[in-house]
């Protein structure tokens, strides 16, 4: 087996802030000022004035990454948000160039960062299949050869000459996935967005892709979901803060990934990796039981309050439609549920003052014993609002065994990441003469 991808010292730097959306006249004024030996009129106050070069904020999204992929490998690239996996994907897909280092590739590459790129609502299904497949790099002859297979696979034969704007969204996705599933490159690069979701159709596509993998094709699969990597891949590499931290079998890589997690401790005010405008900032997160006592862990089925303490730098601004949201994720970053005042219809009031807390009451906590993480977000409005603060992994919520079902029994987190309340009954067939069957409950 020969090496088909060789990545050497690959690095990618992003500049933040001043490079974006610059105005031409600002640049000209800067040059003019420099020519006259004056100060840069747009320099930031804290910039060193001696050198005259503006210190732009830089981030190394990837730093000195080295690895090789052999023919027939199915490599899972694992990492948390911001670890550099999307950047690596973009470089290998030629969407952006590296800042340093190189990547060498042998063979035809197809990369799927999205399904249905280039779909146009006014064109027919047939035209869109050709459009999308050509964008992904297939030649007309190749598409001609596979067209019937693609249409069969998608199950929209009847409507293939109808403009896709008349399709249901499901049909559109099926058609797009069918094209993606019929790419036959030597190297396939897949983003995780294609693997999430639960429809049987997506499973069918993944099934076809893993068939491709068994035929000896090379696949790079990017994910932060351990389960998908475990099933599909034969090798795993872990990225952390732009650096390659681990390279081995997929099972070893997953266990490295799971164990490497360190929760953020300390004051949330010191977190710099937050999004949003920042008039309102989360300062601390607290869990309380029904009686209002602070708790450090919850049990399955408990009623708990999640208290998001905040500071408000601009108390004079009125936010009549404030939108707050929490997301509970597993320690492998799989989202379990979100909760927000948008869904409950609760109004958080217009005057938020200088500080306070948003309190979210969760009734009968539907989580099995495990460790979960909480992310929180606050916006000025649910639709088209401005994000004020956005914190990923703001707090850790350990859940212990509890009496969720009233029976004292609980499934484990490996069987399912959430619990569902319910009850069971037998419904014998009521038709006279036929013997009662218990099939209804099994089907």
């Amino acid at each position: 087996m020969s090496v088909v991808i060789r990545i050497e010292n690959l690095s990618k730097r992003y500049r933040l802030g001043s490079i974006d959306r610059r105005m031409l006249y600002e640049d000209l004024q800067r040059r003019w000022a420099k020519l006259l030996g004056k100060e840069d009129p747009f320099a930031f106050v804290n910039e060193s004035r001696k050198t005259g070069t503006p210190e732009t904020k830089e981030i190394w999204a990837l730093k000195d990454v080295n690895f090789e992929v052999r023919d027939g490998d199915v490599v899972g690239i694992i990492g948390r948000n911001g670890s550099g996996k999307s950047t690596l994907l973009k470089i290998l897909s030629k969407i952006t160039a590296p800042t340093e280092g190189s990547a060498m590739i042998k063979g035809r590459v197809a990369s799927l960062l999205e399904v249905g790129t280039g779909f146009h609502p006014e064109l027919t299904g047939r035209d869109n299949v050709y459009m999308n497949a050509s964008i992904l790099g297939m030649t007309k002859a190749e598409i001609d050869g596979k067209f019937d297979e693609i249409v069969d696979f998608s199950g929209v034969e009847k409507f293939i000459d109808t403009p896709v704007k008349r399709y249901s969204s499901g049909m559109m996705v099926r058609l797009a996935f069918a094209v993606a599933a019929h790419l036959d490159p030597e190297i396939l690069i897949i983003d995780e967005v294609l693997a999430v979701g639960d429809s049987a159709f997506q499973q069918k596509c993944l099934g076809r892709m893993s068939k491709v993998a068994r035929e000896g094709r090379t696949i790079l699969f990017v994910s932060h979901q351990a389960a998908a990597v475990e099933n599909l891949c034969t090798r795993g590499v872990v990225l952390e803060n732009g650096q390659l931290k681990f390279d081995g079998t997929q099972t070893e890589a997953i266990s490295y990934y799971v164990n490497s997690y360190t929760p953020h401790t300390g004051d949330l005010r010191e977190r710099t990796d937050r999004g949003g405008r920042g008039q309102i900032r989360f300062t601390a997160i607290e869990f309380r039981d029904r009686e209002g006592r602070a708790i450090t862990s919850a049990y399955a089925g408990q009623d708990i309050d999640i208290v998001l303490h905040y500071e408000n730098n601009a108390p004079h601004i009125v936010h009549p439609n404030l939108f707050a949201r929490i997301t509970i994720k597993t320690d492998l970053d799989v989202p379990v549920f979100v909760q927000s005042n948008l869904y409950t219809g609760d109004n958080l009031g217009a005057q938020v003052g200088e500080s306070g807390a948003f309190v979210c009451r969760l009734e009968r906590l539907p989580l099995p014993p495990s460790s979960f993480r909480l992310s929180c977000l606050i916006c000025t409005a649910p639709l088209g609002g401005v994000v004020l603060d956005d914190l990923d992994n703001a707090a850790e919520l350990p859940v212990e065994g509890g009496d969720f079902f009233g029976s004292g029994l609980l499934p484990s987190v490996h069987q399912g990441v959430a619990l569902a309340a319910g009850h069971w009954s037998l419904e014998p067939s009521a038709v006279g003469g036929t013997p009662a069957k218990s099939e209804a409950a099994c089907s």
Binding site: R21, M23, A103, S134, I135, K140
Partner: protein, 289 residues
């Protein structure tokens, strides 16, 4: 899937080497050729979708030039009394407008390539030049339709005995179209490469094209310009092209070989600079959106 362009590393069998720098002159035209079907697909998509769900449908291809021509005929021909060298005012203006529109829409559409296609560019790689090329194909087809209508009207005027003399020189039209396409592509590429950093240029381009039209002999013949100042107009590469258009189709105008030579050299230089700048911008464009 990328093309099988050979690289210096091909001794080791690498088909692609992704590095920070790529040669200034490495336009990868072989790759562009590999993706020719895609250029055709974009062309088809733009053409089909441009008149769907409009009341007048394909008529939209001919309404704007005819209305513009009528306005010019009234304002510049009747009120302004601008000489048209004896050619019927309507034909004189319509030919200029049709040719200018082709160039202007090539220029403005190519100029917004990066900003209006950021969605696709962020998700998949293909040679970015595919889009400008397909834009020019779309505009060529629009031009062909408009020019067809012009020929019908010209036939009508001719039958009525208007002093026009279509002649064999009409065979140079494809060359003029090619040159206008190249010029639009070149300047459009320069602007689109600059707009990835300076967004305000995008606002300037449609306004600038309008002004440029008035400097390009669209609403007046070159013969109206005093002899001493003509050299200045020749530096505008569009002037000899528009004049040649009229000369070839209607049989009037000032065309000298050296005018066309200057125009061709300027076009070649602008196209080259445009391709170099576009090539440099496309590598890291996605980092700045």
């Amino acid at each position: 899937m990328s093309s099988e362009v050979t690289t210096p590393e091909s001794a080791e069998g690498w088909t692609q080497v992704l590095t920070p720098d790529r040669g200034w002159l490495d336009f990868r035209l072989g790759e562009l050729w590999h993706y020719r079907d895609l250029a055709f697909r974009f062309f088809r998509r733009d053409f089909v979708s441009s008149y769907k769900q409009t009341v007048l449908g394909p008529l939209w291809f001919v309404i704007p030039p005819i209305l513009t021509t009528l306005v010019f005929t009234v304002v510049f021909g009747k009120i302004g009394q601008i000489s048209t060298n004896g050619m019927p005012d309507f034909l004189f203006f319509m030919l200029g407008v049709t040719a200018w529109n082709y160039f202007a829409s090539c220029l403005t559409r190519v100029a917004t390539t990066f900003t209006s296609n950021a969605g696709i560019f962020g998700k998949v790689y293909f040679p970015r030049l595919v889009l400008p090329v397909s834009t020019i194909l779309t505009n060529l087809l629009t031009f062909a339709i408009q020019f067809g209508v012009f020929l019908l009207l010209m036939g009508f005027f001719w039958v009525r005995g208007a002093p026009i003399s279509p002649n064999w020189r009409i065979v140079i039209l494809p060359l003029l179209l090619l040159q206008m396409g190249a010029l639009g592509l070149g300047i459009g590429c320069i602007v689109s490469a600059l707009t990835t950093r300076y967004r305000d240029l995008a606002l300037m381009i449609s306004f600038g094209t309008q002004l440029w039209m008035y400097a390009s002999c669209v609403v007046y013949p070159l013969s109206e310009i005093p002899k001493d100042w003509r050299w200045l107009f020749i530096l505008n590469p569009m002037v000899p092209i528009i004049e040649s258009f009229r000369f070839a189709v209607l049989g009037g105008g000032i065309v000298e070989i050296w005018h066309l030579g200057v125009s061709a050299v300027l076009t070649a230089v602008l196209l080259f600079v445009g391709l170099v700048m576009f090539n440099r911008a496309e590598k890291t464009f996605m980092d700045t959106v």
